[in-house]
């Protein structure tokens, strides 16, 4: 996007007041968003985000400036603004820039920018018809599609100069079922680091009917009881609970400053032996995958917990300094408007030996969380909360009544210790994760698993 000589000049300017490391991130992103509602295209918007972010380190302090004035003067001004916040003694120099771009490990067939919007609408309309026609109680269906091409350049004073092109596509289906004053929604939102071939190849029948099935099922759901129960959490998006309860606590953002319950515990048994937890940004074409991270580091497979033992963290460049460890290809950001920090990519619990049937039939009186909603964690205390989108009662080893309004609360590390069965049906689910460096695409995943005890808060109250 820019000549190396211009970039070198900007990196030099950023170091002019004694910083010891400078970096420039250039982003050019084109995106399309479509919304089909009531069978009609209601929103179609396209746009171009373009900007640069400049970062300077001075020891453990970090300065970040960003702007969408990407003229040479604009970049130099941003670099000098960043430098103005640094007061160092020694002046570091910029190493000669060497192209460290690596070929994408996520093959793309059809760039969505080259595909007519009407073809995307065709796919959306097919999904709409399946979801709407699923049941007479389905009153509304919203289908949205999103695609983007994000071109990034990362260059730093250590000589890195790396470019990457990321292409992502996502289809989201929301079905609304109504019965009198009862109103329930179901959602499914598959996504991939892939082009239009992803949309074309999607099993629309599966995703669209599932969204509608959830909404219709929940119409007949009873209020969830409260109390402590064994909870069976199903695969795919069920992994969100460990994303929140453990994943965030393993990010260097929390660990480096000792704000995580997992800090200083490498080598310790933090989970039962049946639990192995992995973050892998290299899985081909997955929603959370990248070829390189937003600091120019190749992504990799990071084993975080292996057979219950804490093995490592997700580490970005700045926190690597603080921790005296190496970066793990985990430096991510929403856009040039955010300084990168350690984030997850595709994070999942590795498959175990139990079949889903065994897990259910071994549970006498519990809750089955088939589809999870969103949740939140406080990394300092490890306390989390989650909404369950589709829940059921388990009685005498059988799934029975659907339940609504189930919220799970607990403490991440304690819940992790209570995982007592891990299934063999690993699946991944796409989501957006919001944190310090903005909202980014991530996958969460797991096979079906059981936690021996979680506090469930519902509207029905104690039994």
């Amino acid at each position: 996007m820019f000549a190396k000589s211009v970039i070198e000049e900007v990196l030099e300017a950023a170091l002019s007041t004694g910083g010891d490391f400078s970096e420039i991130f250039v982003e050019d992103r084109r995106s399309n968003r479509l919304l089909l509602q009531g069978g009609k295209v209601e929103i179609s918007n396209s746009g171009r985000d373009f900007g640069i972010g400049i970062r300077v380190y001075h020891g453990l302090n970090s300065v970040y400036t960003y702007t969408n004035d990407a003229s040479k003067e604009g970049m130099l001004k941003a670099a000098r603004n960043a430098a103005a916040a640094v007061q160092g003694d020694e002046r570091a120099s910029v190493a000669p820039l060497a192209d460290r771009s690596i070929p994408s490990i996520h093959p793309i067939r059809w760039n969505p920018l080259d595909v007519a919007k009407s073809r995307k609408v065709d796919v959306m309309r097919r999904a709409y018809e399946i979801a709407y026609g699923y049941h007479e109680k389905i009153q509304q269906v919203m289908i949205s599609s999103f695609d983007e091409e994000q071109n990034v350049l990362v260059a730093n004073s250590e000589g890195t100069f790396a470019e990457d092109k990321r292409i992502r596509s996502r289809l989201a289906i929301q079905s609304i079922a109504v019965d009198g004053e009862k109103y329930e929604t179901g959602f499914y939102g598959p996504g991939a680091h892939q082009g239009f071939e992803f949309l074309e190849g999607l099993d629309l029948y599966h995703y669209a009917s599932e969204a509608s099935r959830i909404a219709v099922t929940m119409l007949g759901a009873e209020p969830c009881p409260s109390g402590n129960f064994p909870v069976v959490i199903d695969n795919e998006f069920g992994g969100v609970i460990f994303h929140e309860a453990c994943g965030h606590g393993l990010e260097a953002t929390a660990v480096a400053k000792n704000n995580s319950v997992f800090a200083n515990r490498i080598g310790e048994q933090v989970a039962p032996e049946i639990v192995t937890y992995i973050d892998d940004g290299t899985i081909a074409n997955e929603w959370g995958s990248l070829t390189m991270d937003d600091e120019g580091e190749p992504t990799r497979r990071n084993v975080l917990i292996e057979n219950g033992i804490l093995k490592g963290y997700l580490i970005d460049k700045l926190n690597a300094r603080r921790m005296g460890m190496s970066p793990t290809g985990s430096g991510r950001r929403q856009s040039y408007r955010f300084a990168p920090t350690s984030r997850m990519t595709n994070t999942f619990i590795a498959p175990g030996r139990s079949t889903p049937e065994e897990i259910i039939s071994n549970t006498e009186n519990g809750i089955y969380a088939k589809y999870m909603g969103g949740g939140q964690v406080n990394p300092a205390t490890g306390d989390y909360n989650f909404a369950v989108m589709e829940a059921y009662r388990i009685e005498n080893g059988k799934v029975t009544t659907p339940l609504k309004g189930a919220t799970l609360i607990g403490n991440g590390p304690k819940t992790l210790q209570k995982v007592d069965m891990v299934g063999n049906n690993l699946g991944h689910g796409a989501g957006m994760c919001g944190s310090l460096s903005g909202s980014i695409p991530v996958n969460v995943g797991q096979p079906m698993l059981r936690v021996s005890e979680i506090t469930v808060g519902g509207t029905k109250g104690a039994e």
Partner: protein, 451 residues
């Protein structure tokens, strides 16, 4: 190319390719933020941003496109994409380009005093907060985040029907978290305070507030799981109201996503409940003279003495209902589509102090924080089951702190079962505007305490 030139060239080129009416909406923003860790600046950010969103009528339909760059290439990019976007739209209710309201107020919501505060003064203030938090009590073991940010934003709307509006506003916020530990128990406290008045920020007050909140939670206990009268502290009540503000959006009502459909003129709350939207509060974070469609703002009574009087409208929803817009068009981002959001919307306070509210409860729960509002609350059905922290209230007094708990109920039932309203109105930046509430006592909600 400056913005004026760009817009003129864009409108001219647009007319040449067949656009009739056209409009540009722009936002220009300057922002600053810094974060401290262990007494030193851990991160420092500054930014200048600009974004332009174009919309234009092509073949009777409105096409949208946006850009952050204004150059020759952007003109053709915007026009080509807006045209393609217009052509695939299938809309019953056509949008149009607005020629403007007949009159606008000219209130100023840009604080000159805040513009003058230097980064050094802001950092010094934040350092003071951090120092005071650390020194507050030996049980303080960490400050997970300590951040200050400020921003100023200029907004402009200009179209080919003669509308040309511009305004500016600014604000500053402080966000701090604290971790306390005693006897193996870990608790946390946090605060987010936003204002346009830098002088109103008080470092020792902030430190005291979050430390007391966290320390007060140590030694937490369990009470039986059942329904209790619940006192939502004002900031928590505001956050809960903000989550359910979409029920008042005419867009949601028209699309069958609000249970308030058909309830105009009906009683939806207790007698004591009045909800207003006031766009001209001098210190309001969402104060403005016009909305994101350029429609002149005005005060609105949404609920009066329990009766629903109006929904929040933009021009499109107002046209559909055959009423006048209430001036609540909102673009969450410069490049997004026009939706609906409140300005400063709040429940009118009474003159009962929060202490008197506590004294009115025999056996209840005081809720001092809520989390999971984005996932554990359904703004359509009104159902919620939310993680919370708080205290047991016994015999009219705040008793022991409680373990993490869930509070569950239905928001529509909450409006009908407010037993008392406090005097302590507090605002919460949310729902695309600013939402406020005083402390509220709710007759009964289901409480489940983690064991």
């Amino acid at each position: 190319m400056d913005l004026n030139q760009f817009q003129e060239r864009l409108f001219e080129a647009g007319r040449n390719v067949g656009f009739t009416d056209m409009e540009c909406y722009t936002r220009k923003r300057e922002q600053f933020s810094c974060r401290l860790f262990e007494g030193a600046i851990d991160s420092y950010e500054s930014a200048e941003l600009f974004g332009l969103s174009f919309r234009g009528m092509f073949a009777g339909k409105m096409g949208y496109a946006f850009t952050e760059r204004i150059d020759e290439e952007a003109i053709s990019y915007l026009l080509e994409n807006a045209k393609e976007n217009a052509l695939i739209l299938k809309m019953d209710d056509e949008e149009d380009i607005f020629e403007g309201s007949s009159e606008y107020r000219a209130d100023n919501y840009l604080s000159e005093a805040l513009q003058e505060v230097t980064p050094q003064e802001k950092i010094a203030f934040l350092m003071d907060v951090e120092r005071q938090v650390r020194a507050y009590d030996p049980r303080v073991t960490g400050i997970p985040y300590c951040t200050l940010g400020s921003s100023s934003q200029e907004r402009s709307i200009r179209n080919t029907r003669g509308l040309a509006l511009r305004d500016a506003k600014n604000e500053i916020y402080v966000a701090v978290g604290v971790k306390v530990e005693a006897n193996g128990e870990v608790k946390s406290g946090s605060v987010y305070q936003a204002t346009i008045d830098f002088e109103s920020l008080n470092a020792s007050e902030i430190a005291r507030k979050i430390c007391e909140e966290a320390l007060g939670q140590l030694g937490s206990k369990v009470i039986p799981n059942k329904t209790y009268p619940v006192l939502f502290r004002s900031d928590v009540a505001a956050a809960l109201l903000a989550t359910f503000v979409p029920i008042f959006s005419a867009e949601n009502v028209q699309k069958g996503r609000s249970l308030l459909a058909g309830k105009l003129g009906s009683r939806i709350g207790v007698d004591a409940l009045t909800i207003v939207d006031h766009p001209f509060l001098p210190d309001g974070l969402a104060s403005r003279n016009f909305d994101d469609e350029g429609f002149a703002s005005r005060e609105l009574k949404v609920v009066e003495k329990g009766t629903l009087l109006s929904f929040l409208h933009n021009r499109k929803t107002a046209k559909k209902d055959g009423v006048e817009s209430t001036g609540h068009a909102r673009k969450a981002q410069f490049n997004g589509s026009v939706s609906i959001a409140p300005s400063n919307l709040y429940i009118e306070p009474s003159d009962t102090s929060c202490d008197d509210l506590v004294a009115s409860i025999d056996d209840g729960v005081l809720v001092t924080s809520l989390s999971g509002l984005h996932s554990g609350a359904n703004p359509v059905s009104g159902e919620f089951s939310l993680a919370a922290h708080g205290y047991h209230i016994a015999n009219g007094q705040i008793a022991e702190p409680l373990n993490q708990l869930t509070v569950a109920g239905n928001f529509f039932a909450v409006l009908q079962s407010i037993q008392a309203i406090g005097a302590d109105l507090e605002f919460h930046p949310a729902a695309g505007g600013s939402v406020g509430a005083p402390s509220l006592v709710i007759q009964e909600l289901s409480i489940t305490v983690e064991t």
